[in-house]
């Protein structure tokens, strides 16, 4: 249990201390600058400080902590990927996730639910069996199950899906979990802040200066700072940041919309995903159904929501759970997805010296927060990528060595 809460309850000092200190103005220079105070950027700052003693770091955020994809995803954590590189990477993330609540002394509501990916076609069954074998080979708890097993684990489901696309089997992943996504960013941020990292919210990066092929400084709305190292951890805004150093990337940006319903009595403890129906759903600890779909059908750098999404998603949800027909949707929102051609992230060094990239997080970024922070911190500190992220390097495209992860995406995009 979080001892801080007990201490606070017994303390005579109220209100409690703030989670973050507010830094004064930007200094003239830093050992490293991290752009983006989302989960990934703050996790990198945290591990840089904790594991490498690098604390002269500024995290620059144009909005507020966790304003982007960090607080907009559907909070699902799993490691049943398709490629061995992906499985190892995300499994390490799950291992790190499990210790975080204790490490931060902050309850992340990490809740292991079990994750079903439903197959409605022969080709989907083939991919599920393939993933199950790759997963098992690498020690990840994952197996192919029959429709009857799905019904036992989740009684309200309609196995015929209204008759159009009956469930023919599923991939079951017992460690599949959900967690309170913004708290993950707060925990990393507070831990970094405590160790001396400065988090500057409301500070926009307007340019990056490169001399002789190396980063020398960052122009911001709060003034100019000199730095030899810049980490871009801005997901959907990556192309704009990459343009500042003249770097071309294979990223295209699309919104992905999600929604929650009014709170219901707990009836769904599993995470249910259907690729063919383009839906994934879990029930939060507050009882709301958290639901997401596929990315929007065309590129757009805007976080608006559309009626088409709510209509389409509701229709598919009712195919799976007809009993939800009178449930109201409370909120719809969108986040930006920086999609890569092979559905794997882009991490590590770039042709610009001192400019590091943590991007291509498309629809799979939240679950990678701890491991991406840890591996990017190591990359920044040692100027070398750990083996775990070698398959995700930017140069894989010109080397024609892609890491084909599309078969592990939750839904078709």
């Amino acid at each position: 249990m979080p001892y801080r809460l007990l201490k606070y309850g017994l303390s005579s000092k109220h209100p409690d201390e703030r989670m973050f200190t507010t830094p004064s103005e930007l200094k003239k220079s830093y050992d490293a600058v991290i752009i983006g105070a989302g989960g990934h950027g703050l996790a990198a700052a945290y591990y840089l400080a904790r594991d490498f003693g690098i604390t002269d770091v500024a995290v620059l955020e144009k909005g507020y902590i966790g304003a982007g994809g960090t607080g907009r995803n559907t909070a699902i954590i799993r490691s049943n990927y398709l490629t061995p590189e992906g499985v190892k990477f995300y499994d390490e993330s799950i291992r790190l996730f499990k210790d975080l609540s204790g490490e931060f002394d902050l309850n992340l509501f990490y809740s292991e639910r079990g994750h079903f990916t439903l197959a409605h076609s022969d080709s989907a069954i083939r991919t599920m069996r393939w993933r199950a074998e790759v997963n098992k080979h690498l020690g990840v708890d994952s197996e192919y199950v029959e429709p009857e097993d799905v019904k036992v684990a989740c009684p309200p489901i309609d196995l015929t899906c209204g008759g159009d696309a009956p469930i023919m089997g599923a991939l079951y992943h017992p460690p599949g979990a959900i967690a309170r996504h913004d708290a993950v960013a707060w925990g990393y941020g507070a831990g970094a802040d405590e160790r001396g990292v400065e988090i500057h919210q409301g500070t926009e990066v307007t340019g990056i200066d490169v001399k002789k092929g190396r980063v020398v400084g960052v122009r911001t709305s709060g003034g100019y700072v000199r730095t030899p190292k810049v980490l871009s951890a801005v997901a959907g805004w990556t192309p704009s940041i990459a343009d500042m150093v003249g770097l071309r990337t294979p990223l295209t940006v699309r919104p992905l919309q999600a929604c929650v319903t009014e709170p219901l009595k707990p009836f769904l403890d599993k995470i249910m995903v259907s690729g063919s129906l383009h839906v994934y759903v879990s029930q939060s600890s507050r009882g709301e159904l958290v639901m997401g779909g596929s990315t929007d059908p065309y590129e757009l750098n805007s976080m608006r929501s559309t009626l088409e999404f709510a209509e389409g998603l509701s229709g598919h949800m009712l195919d799976l759970f007809p009993s939800l027909s009178n449930v109201k949707i409370l909120r719809v929102w969108a986040g930006l997805c920086d999609m890569t051609p092979d559905f794997a992230p882009i991490m590590g060094r770039t042709p610009v010296g001192g400019f590091y990239i943590d991007a291509g997080w498309g629809t799979w970024g939240f679950k990678a927060t701890p491991v991406s922070g840890k591996t990017m911190a190591q990359t920044l500190a040692t100027d070398r990528e750990p083996e775990l992220i070698h398959a995700f390097r930017l140069s894989r495209f010109e080397e024609l060595e892609l890491t084909g992860e599309k078969g592990a995406a939750s839904v078709g995009h």
Binding site: P297, L300, N301
Partner: protein, 88 residues
């Protein structure tokens, strides 16, 4: 954007269209270096702003060009592909 104007069929609901990606000029495959070619195959202009794109009207099978701002979603115009589009 709820309605897009097909150069052949006029204004139609957006559900009738398929997005075909950013319009890019293909380098000569025989003359291009490997670096230039992989740049063409993979890299894109992902930053928000005005650009030319391919769109497809499903009902009539029409491919055409739209000038759209990927930051604001405003469409400046749509027209059929011609040689001038390629070189102009």
């Amino acid at each position: 954007m709820k309605i897009l104007t097909c150069p052949i069929n006029g204004p139609r609901p957006i559900q009738e269209f398929l997005f075909g990606g950013e319009f890019r000029e293909m380098p000569d495959p025989d003359a291009a270096t490997d670096a230039r070619w992989t740049d063409y195959v993979y890299n894109r202009d992902g930053a928000p702003g005005p650009r030319r794109e391919w769109w497809y009207h499903l009902a009539s099978g029409t491919w055409f060009i739209a000038e759209r701002d990927t930051g604001t979603n405003d469409v400046k115009g749509t027209y059929l592909y011609t040689d001038e589009v390629e070189h102009g």
